[in-house]
């Protein structure tokens, strides 16, 4: 231990981690450098040292998440599409259980008009990736014959993606919204053997369903 670069990476990562929780929990414009510095026990200017402008922090948040998501998508590529969908659902649960966070695409599209140009561009690229990934699951599901639905995989993928994004937000006002919508998506895809009643709240002890969180830089 006592890695010379440990301290640097440590604070830098802590800033990003804390900023991410605030970002997904409150939105980009509703947290300040003070929220981070106070919690972290450092001064405001220390944050500015690592991320000079808030825009820099915002872009870093998007880019880190994008890389993390890329690894997640790659790791589950080739899996049974239905299992991929369930992992997707598990992700949404993990968000919600973490103080009612919402997914990055939800917070990005909500805040979009108020974001600086650099963040808008990063957001567009990132959200496009996520939507493409959702479409791919639905396409593969039909090709392999494990999902049945009308319309194109593109349209169905976009719809499921939008529905989950909306469900996570609505779950802040009424927690029953999220499981109900997930169940209906299963239903629409022809999963007759979907969970018998309601899995209800998070007594899903079956898996950790916290598929990414880790990594530096």
């Amino acid at each position: 231990m006592n890695d010379p670069h440990a301290a640097r990476q440590d604070t830098r990562k802590k800033i990003l981690d804390l900023a991410e929780a605030l970002w997904l929990g409150r939105g980009f414009n509703s947290f300040s450098y003070q929220h981070i510095s106070r919690e972290l026990g450092v001064k405001n200017a220390a944050i500015h040292y690592h991320y000079p402008r808030k825009t820099d922090l915002g872009v870093a948040l998007i880019e880190r998440y994008r890389r993390r998501f890329g690894r997640f998508a790659e790791a589950q590529a080739g899996l049974d599409p239905r299992e991929q969908l369930e992992q997707y659902f598990g992700l949404t649960d993990a968000y919600h259980d973490q103080d009612g966070q919402i997914c990055p695409s939800g917070v990005l599209s909500s805040d979009f008009p108020t974001l600086p140009d650099e963040m808008q561009q990063a957001a567009q690229a990132f959200v496009a990736e996520m939507r493409t990934w959702a479409v791919a699951i639905l396409r593969e599901g039909r090709e392999r014959g494990v999902m049945q639905y009308p319309g194109s995989p593109e349209a169905m993928g976009e719809l499921v993606f939008a529905a989950l994004q909306g469900a996570l937000q609505l779950a802040r006002l009424d927690r029953t919204a999220l499981p109900a919508i997930k169940q209906q998506v299963r239903c629409l895809l022809g999963f007759a053997d979907a969970e018998p009643h309601h899995e209800e709240d998070h007594d899903n002890t079956k898996k950790s369903h916290e598929p990414h969180r880790r990594q530096g830089e």
Copy 2:
């Protein structure tokens, strides 16, 4: 003219109208009294005269919208459920075409954790009404035999509602999202005769689709 109460109502209404556009376009925390007063040609304190705290303005926004929505829902009650759905779609188009606004439920659920208590309660009641209304359309559609879908009307209503909310937000980053998702909803409900290709952007000159906007107080 020269109604004694005209001036009062006038400024008061102008404030609310402007606040509403800013609210749906940027979110509750991303507009200030300055945005309103500057545009309106009055001083900041004039807004505080009508709405002492920003919370008062926020609650007034929700309550007004709730009344307006109540009239809208009542006016279309008894209509063909499919036509009701199309009017709902027309509403989403109207939002989007107005500088990329999103629906009230979308902005409320996004901002929710940062809102004051009074607004949170008003928001929960209002969004619950909207969701109930969406469910009613889907239920009636099945009862009358004009819509076919698996699962319960409750679950399907929630899903459609969440999907439209998400679609409106995503349309800010990619305008193709909204028509694609609307079309897929039609598709899922068994509307085989749905518009042949893509209605695409707003060349829908067929109707004004701006179903409410008016009223004082």
